[in-house]
Subunit: 614 residues, 2 copies
């Protein structure tokens, strides 16, 4: 060992002990004939004092930032104690030192607030990883994985490794593929998730499986997506939806306790997808605050179980509302006294291309009980009051209203709600609120071609292995999936089949999702058929799974957490990249390695492939 | 939940309880108007009793092997107790049952001794995994990983994930590569190990890293190799060799305790590579038994620190020995009375192509003190006695001698020693003996081309990041690696440089290996140069590592365990495939998935590659 103690370990009770430390030079402060050095390692920082004698040696062998240094010395009480660090009561009187390795001047400072830009820090990621801010993230990540493993172990889950070199069955996202040298002309695929393997493990009787596992998706990278990412992947047999929800909200509560020391004792709310969309405009609502949507108007064929209130706006001859497919409102607390400048700014905000609205209507619910709106010439104060009441607005609130096509408007009001929530401080960093969203539609309808499956067909919203809700199974079996009139696809019975699926949402972020799976061969075949797969394709891609379902597949279900995102949210960050040791940039490149890169002709020859650049 | 209890849980104290079980039908035994069914799940087997009433329902809904069954009933004491299973005191009087899923007749029996051949079991791996024999292996694997994580966590190691999509830097084994769609013409590689990443993490200050991680090698698969395999990968900073040996023999002892309940309290032996080769003919000797080699003759340039004893065989005019490069002997205990048939059989054994010897010489050390050999006409009894003494043979032993070229003969006698040890019962299944083998040569010399690096050059025996022993660093730095006379490469100073490397051997199997790494930029460059890499190639392949070494790299070292093999040995098996949930066959195929497979033209187009089949 190059050290007897770490740089985070020594305390006042070690005074007089002879110790050896090793670490990196954080700072050097010379005062006349003595020098103070802060020595850093993973565990902390310890102050070193080089007295007159050693100072001369230092002059001959000058230290620099990030030099690797070993010192022998005696622990001594500091006169100037530093209460900010754990070792602040002591310093080391150095007797002997040895420079284990030198360092060039780093391209950016190794400090919490660094002067290095993103690109530079990614290129020198090994230096960026030295910064305390990044180290804390990786430590949190490890703590989350440790907590997860402990909880699942205690609940009889088994970690079982599934293969990485599998078969390409592109469904939804694109596979990364790997040419096989031993089987020329053939390719492995890297798994997008271990989905079918964990289902096979259920068929094999391993009734509680988990894995913290890398997955791969060859997608165009939106901000904060990585081509390789990590899942906490779980599956259980002989369970119903409720069993899974209980088990995995338990997991997240355990993580809160272990990692953040938060006792999350409240019941985790559960909400249907339809309620989430209706009340929040979003399938992953942030329920740390209210501001629920008032649904004034909806198209007849969407949210069939929900009742809109068009009578509140109809008959006023206000064309914007009259001609809109959807009109939605939220009541923003305490903002009735917003100035013209402020309401204009919000209007501009909703008109940005990312939101895409044409304008904004507002109603001020004044504290004196009067109402004032941007559409006063269409709506009487009485009508405004009725709308305000329906929106649960109180005196002092500001009602914001959007109108337009259903999907865009709902999305826009959801974004607006989140934005106003943020501005008003309702999205508190240290408040965590979990929510299960249930009963997603099983299918979406692809009016245009997706994934080469052809146009005008059903697409699995979750994945093709998701079971319908128990009382919707017969709708699926007893109806022909074919949609005759594409314009009326919403009227097809399949449009209203709900999936036995669930997402776990934390503060408006989806952190996990899963479903009860299909375990009956016939139902699985019907699903494949609905997705436009003929029998040959079913056999080619999923023959092994259909085969497995012939030999006693148990009822089962599971879910997967996005591990990178879960860590980022727990760490209070928006960016998963900060929680990955060696992330890739938005073009999928590792700029430190300079990968991907060209390969040798010999490798092409062995793999029997060649480039075909357009 | 489809059950209140598992099939391994109910005991005599549960009698009278109403329970619900779910599982697979293992056996059905009909006795007149009642039927016994053994219901199986991951946890055990419970006997079900269908009385007269329910038997009628069973007749209408007949069960079959591997049907998935749910039953409600009452726990009842058995009259005929079965002491062989944990639930053998009770049975369930079934009130109600439900067939959750049917099963075709499985293609082989789901029993410890199955009638299914290898190929069939691999095709239906999901059924093979139901067999208790396979389940036990996966449970052991999980227990080993759990024990490993706990030990390393307690010792301050951090699990840090390293990337899977990296850069191809073929050194030794071939990389699997992954075409990048977003960077046309460029490829990622899958990691053969996280070697450089864990070293970067040391540079970053994460002084104790571990990962249980998949690695990939595109090699022609010898028996019991897999293209994807799992490593326990570890690295530490500020350590010397001894620190690493102590830490990781501690890990294996902990695994013995946790997984096998074995207290491995003895000191783990340590042996130099030269001693291992000299005394056992092998760099991973099984030291559960003796039978060490007598080195009668060696070529002058190998094992320079060792003294052979040619005087014992010279001058007898026995051409086989006189002309051989190497003559080696072992004394096999208690076999002096072997018949002619038995010695002939051993002679045939060493002449098999896998061993490749031309013949065998034996000396019988008779219990009456006389000696008898197959070379009596060349060696007097006195000379035989001298050889026997040198071989530490006792009365009753049988000395076996092989002669030939150094490498082949040493390998052959090592194989013969293991074979005789096995036959004589010296290799006990439940005895475990660990051994560190140290001080491997740093380099091997490639007389012929390897990996396209050219002929007549040094090759890293371990990998290019291994440091020489501290007192050999200067030999490396101060000498030109170039070998002028290829025939005399053994006389080049590099031939005797020993690596600061270590292998951990368990019962004659290498279970782990590692080294103290180079952390000085200049030494690393010298290493790359010795391996025939010019500066451009060094920068292209390992620029990031050389760069990292400029910014304060600490002394560090580590090792990796072959996780699959470790599990196999602990499980008493020769085959790693039995310890992998979804293994590939010897052609790298997953016969269950039928992978690798062809991919769509659309995928070729997107990746901008095409086939180039020879």
């Amino acid at each position: 060992m190059y050290r007897t103690h770490t740089c985070g370990e020594l305390r006042i009770e070690h005074v007089q002990q002879a110790v050896t430390l090793a670490g990196w030079v954080q700072t050097i402060r010379k005062f006349g004939s003595i020098t103070f050095v802060d020595l850093r390692d993973r565990y902390g920082i310890t102050q070193l004092l080089f007295g007159e004698e050693l100072n001369k040696q230092l002059d001959e062998n000058p230290l620099g930032r990030e030099f690797v240094l070993q010192v022998k010395g005696t622990v001594s009480e500091r006169s100037n104690k530093n209460k900010n660090i754990a070792t602040g009561d002591i310093e080391i009187l150095v007797n002997e030192f040895s420079i284990l390795n030198k360092s060039e001047v780093p391209p950016f400072t190794i400090t919490d607030e660094t002067d290095g830009g993103d690109d530079l820090r990614m290129k020198y990621r090994y230096l960026d990883l030295r910064r305390n801010a990044v180290k804390k993230n990786l430590e949190l990540r490890y703590a989350v994985s440790r907590s997860t493993r402990n909880y699942l172990h205690e609940n009889n889950f088994m970690d079982i490794e599934t293969p990485f070199l599998i078969k390409s069955t592109p469904e939804g996202a694109r596979d990364f593929v790997v040419p096989s040298r031993m089987n020329p002309g053939q390719f492995y695929a890297l798994p997008q998730s271990p989905q079918t393997f964990k289902q096979l493990l259920m068929v094999s009787g391993y009734d509680r499986y988990y894995q913290i596992v890398k997955c791969f998706r060859d997608e165009d990278l939106r901000a904060d997506r990585q081509p390789e990412f990590t899942q906490i992947d779980c599956e259980m047999s002989f369970v119903e939806q409720n069993d899974i929800l209980n088990m995995f909200e338990g997991l997240v509560k355990r993580i809160f306790k272990d990692v953040k020391n938060i006792d999350y004792t409240e019941k985790v709310e559960r909400m249907t997808w339809e309620d989430a969309m209706w009340h929040y405009g979003n399938d992953k609502p942030d329920i740390r605050f209210g501001m629920q949507l008032l649904n004034l108007k909806k198209p007849s064929s969407v949210y069939i179980n929900k009742k809109d209130q068009p009578e509140l706006i109809n008959g006023a001859d206000f064309k914007v509302f009259d001609e809109a497919e959807t009109v939605l409102a939220i009541a923003v607390p305490g903002c009735s006294e917003y100035s013209r400048k402020q309401t204009d700014e919000i209007t501009e905000w909703v008109k940005r291309p990312q939101i895409g609205m044409k304008g904004l209507v507002f109603i001020k619910c004044n504290t004196d009980g009067t109402y004032k709106s941007s559409v006063d010439k269409f709506y009487s104060e009485e009508k405004l009051k009725a709308i305000a009441n329906a929106a649960n607005a109180k005196a002092g609130d500001l009602i914001l209203m959007l109108a337009g096509t259903e999907e865009r408007t709902r999305k826009a009001i959801s974004e607006l709600r989140l934005e106003m929530g943020k501005r008003l401080g309702f999205r508190k960093e240290n408040e965590f609120k979990l929510l299960w969203v249930l009963d997603f539609p099983l299918f979406e309808f692809a009016l245009e071609d997706q994934d080469g499956g052809g146009a005008g067909r059903w697409v699995a919203r979750h994945h093709p292995f998701t079971s319908p809700k128990p009382d919707h199974i017969n709708i699926m079996i007893n109806n022909n999936p074919k949609v005759e009139d594409l314009d009326k696809y919403l009227e097809h019975p399949y449009a209203n089949i709900k999936a036995n699926a669930y997402d776990l949402v934390l503060n408006g972020n989806e952190i996990g999702g899963g479903s009860i799976r299909i375990y009956q061969k016939e139902l699985q075949q019907k699903m494949f058929e609905a997705l436009g797969m003929d029998e040959h394709e079913q056999q080619h891609k999923f023959g092994f799974l259909l085969g497995a379902f012939e030999y006693g597949a148990p009822p089962h279900g599971g879910l997967a957490f996005g591990f990178d995102r879960l860590c980022a949210i727990l760490g209070g960050s928006e960016s998963i990249r900060d929680f990955i040791a060696f992330p890739k940039n938005n073009s999928g490149r590792d700029v430190m390695l300079d990968a991907p890169a060209t390969i040798d002709q010999k490798q092409f020859n062995e793999l029997q492939i060649q480039l075909d650049l357009k």
